[in-house]
């Protein structure tokens, strides 16, 4: 299959490229960007007039809800949602049922996902068996099955000695540990501590739930790191200004840490909870404006490496409950690009910066765990895998639950305007998604 993407504006944060150019694809790989050979005869062309041709997006936090939670989301529905959002590589956390703590489960997930020919799925393995924070998993075996790192999803390790050993063991093999910094005991609330939670009578999660966990983690890292080992830690979904300041210090100190922020914490605050809107029941909770402003600045200045959707489809029964009882999570992967562009527009940043936090940023977090894909994921490389996202940068649309591909229909962004729309998504040179503007895509005889 040969594909020619014509008349698009090619943008690639990895190289800073921003120019009008055609992209030629053959045998799943990009063979030319601009200067397409005259004897290149495509089987089909995609007319990208007025569109941006960008690397496929990389989302570091997507819950597919399989295995075990199919009532909330299925591989078919959530992978379709991902490519609809332009996401060609995604990382899924291990808190499925059963937990991803055995190689066989990871093999099965990878196999099922690959059969769908949609986004590339990079699973995180459980750091401890059953996420129970007691016994380490077989990390080397799990890596062979395809895990790109190890984490605890939403379950903090209470025992600091276990956490220390997990970091030591992972560092031995150069595995990255992915943790959402939250103290087990202080993190039991349902909304950010503050005037709103106090007034509404909701149990609060104080900022210290995050900062204490970060202090602990950095202290443990200092002991593990610098003894010839690289104990890399990726901090998932920072939520507070104070937490971000600690990450900034840790990076300045040279600790091998990276971090991300979710679209929710980037755009929303606790005031949006309104009258107990359970679509705002999220982990971590959205905090105050000061925190949101700091996170936006941190994403712009590179302290935060990546923007993630934190996609987590939840079924209606689990959401239509009193706020504290509602299951945390929101459908988001289809909104990721739109919300990144919105952030860039609102904060006076360029489109290339919006793309960077969805491509080069997360690619760097994944680093060598990508193996042979390291030179293809999150960038447009001649000779590399053709993972691309073609989107119209001037296509406003309103988020309506019925219009989402994901099985999850609950999002706090319902009714919001998105500024861009994905027209086509290619994974490994195959068209995994095409938007309704069918006229743009011509099949050649």
């Amino acid at each position: 299959m040969k594909i020619l993407i014509q008349n698009g504006r090619v943008m690639d944060p990895a190289t800073g490229r921003d120019e009008m150019a055609d992209v030629a694809i053959a045998a799943g790989r990009i063979i030319a960007i601009g200067n397409v050979a005259a004897d290149f005869h495509p089987n089909r062309t995609i007319d990208a007039t007025g569109c941006v041709v960008a690397p496929g997006l990389v989302d570091l936090a997507v819950r597919l809800r399989e295995p075990g939670q199919e009532h909330a989301g299925m591989l078919e529905s959530e992978m379709a949602a991902a490519v609809t959002g332009g996401v060609t590589s995604l990382v899924c956390p291990p808190d499925t049922e059963p937990v991803l703590d055995e190689p066989g489960l990871v093999d099965m997930l990878k196999f099922r996902a690959e059969k769908l020919h949609q986004s590339r799925v990079f699973p995180l393995g459980a750091l401890t068996r059953g996420l129970q924070g007691e016994v380490l998993t077989e990390m080397a075996e799990l890596t062979e099955s395809g895990c790109i790192g190890f984490g605890q999803a939403e379950v903090p390790i209470v025992n600091h000695q276990v956490l220390q050993r997990a970091l030591q063991y992972a560092a031995t093999f150069g595995f990255t540990v992915w943790l959402r910094p939250q103290d087990f005991w202080l993190g039991k609330g349902v909304a950010a501590s503050g005037p709103l939670a106090t007034r509404m009578g909701l149990a609060g999660v104080p900022v210290m739930a995050e900062t204490i966990a970060l202090h602990t983690l950095f202290e443990l890292l200092r002991a593990v790191h610098g003894k010839g080992s690289e104990a890399r830690v990726h901090l998932c979904r920072i939520s507070s200004a104070a937490g971000l300041a600690l990450v900034r210090q840790a990076k300045a100190e040279g600790l091998p840490v990276s971090c991300d922020v979710s679209v929710h914490n980037l755009h929303l605050t606790d005031v949006d909870i309104g009258y107990y809107d359970s679509r705002l029941r999220l982990q971590p909770p959205v905090r105050q404006q000061r925190d949101r402003d700091a996170l936006r600045a941190g994403l712009a200045d590179g302290t935060i490496d990546a923007l993630v959707s934190d996609h987590n489809p939840v079924d209606s029964d689990a959401k239509t409950l009193p706020f504290a009882e509602a299951e945390p999570g929101a459908t988001a992967v289809e909104l990721l690009l739109g919300l990144a562009c919105k952030w860039a527009q609102q904060d006076g940043l360029g489109l290339i910066q919006a793309l960077a936090v969805l491509t080069t940023g997360p690619q760097a977090v994944l680093g060598s765990s990508l193996g042979t894909l390291a030179h293809s994921v999150g960038r447009l490389a001649v000779g590399g895998q053709a993972d691309l996202c073609v989107f119209d940068p001037n296509a406003n649309w309103r988020v309506e639950p019925a219009g989402l591909r994901s099985q999850g229909k609950h999002t706090p962004f319902e009714g919001h305007e998105m500024p861009v729309r994905v027209r086509a998504t290619l994974v490994g040179g195959q068209v995994a998604h095409e938007a309704a503007r069918a006229a743009a895509v011509h099949a050649l005889a």
Partner: protein, 318 residues
């Protein structure tokens, strides 16, 4: 943010979910209406036909005897048919969802739901899912609100002190977990009370409560000094041990209201309590039974206030 779900588009009260966000006019209307109903309770025939033919369902997802009984009495005195469902022990225990329960009861042609639930905000969810003609009255949700208690406290204060704009009111006890305190605070500030204090140890009265526009005090003397009204809160059994408080005895030593300590307040200060009372924990028996206590009148006024609330919401269409 969406329109206040308690009000219809004309700004009239259709549900009572919280005292927050209600205007002074609406609060005053409820208190004035209650004043008319107080006399009903003193008649030989203690009934008015205001809600004749209407069905009031008491939905208590959390156990309560006292509040439920006062709502029963209030609805009965308005001539409504009253049905009480002890949901804590029935349908939800069998796995039925909250909204299924509501849908089922709506199908039984309810007009008013009186709801108590252990989670903050549950009555909001219910009010969004009931048929348009059904009114929801919050009888206590989590630590969020207990608006009829707040209103009966306002009624009591107004009865004895007339004017809110010159008053100092102290709320003593477990303010952090108290829906009564929140409802009192919102109502007091709307009615123009210039000095509301919350009093207790930092575990139960954290400093950030000042965000609600109250003065936070950590000694009883500072808290009730020259006050006109002292509201003591019930200390829940589960708070009396563990990390919030070491023991009820130690709490009484520091924050229990005794006749002697009550002298810090104004000589004509009134003492209130939402009940049930723990004598010797938050308040000494001598104060409960003493001349400044208005705890029993509170209960009497509570019935009139609940009659007023149900009468008013039932008179407005969504």
């Amino acid at each position: 943010m969406a329109r206040n779900p308690q009000l219809n588009k004309n700004g009239e009260l259709i549900h009572l979910l919280s005292t927050e966000g209600l205007s002074r006019d609406i609060l005053t209307q409820i208190l004035d209406t209650a004043a008319n109903f107080v006399s009903v309770s003193n008649r030989e025939v203690k009934k008015v036909p205001l809600l004749r033919g209407k069905s009031v369902f008491n939905l208590f997802f959390e156990n309560s005897t006292r509040t439920r009984t006062t709502f029963d009495i209030a609805a009965t005195r308005l001539s409504a048919d009253v049905y009480t469902l002890d949901i804590a022990r029935s349908s939800t225990a069998k796995g039925e969802s909250l909204l299924d329960t509501i849908a089922n009861l709506s199908a039984m042609a309810a007009d008013i739901f009186v709801v108590r639930h252990s989670e903050s905000g549950a009555p909001y969810l219910i009010s969004q899912h009931v048929a348009p003609h059904v009114h929801v009255v919050n009888a206590g949700d989590g630590r969020h609100a207990h608006p009829t208690q707040g209103l009966l406290d306002m009624y009591t204060i107004r009865h004895y002190k007339k004017d809110f704009t010159q008053l100092s009111v102290a709320i003593v006890g477990d303010v952090l977990h108290s829906r009564v305190a929140r409802s009192d605070i919102h109502a007091l500030s709307t009615l123009g009370c210039p000095d509301v204090r919350v009093v207790g140890p930092r575990t139960l009265v954290p400093g950030d409560l000042s965000q609600m526009g109250v003065r936070v005090c950590h000694t009883l003397e500072e808290g009730i000094k020259d006050c006109d009204v002292v509201i003591t809160l019930r200390l829940q059994n589960e708070r009396m041990s563990g990390a919030l408080l070491p023991s009820s005895q130690e709490y009484f030593k520091s924050f229990g209201l005794t006749t002697e300590r009550l002298r810090w307040a104004k000589p004509d200060a009134i003492v209130m309590h939402p009940g049930p009372i723990n004598r010797g924990v938050e308040i000494d028996s001598a104060v409960v039974d003493g001349p400044q206590s208005v705890i029993l009148p509170q209960v009497t006024f509570g019935i009139a206030v609940r009659m007023a609330v149900m009468g008013i919401v039932a008179s407005h269409d969504a």
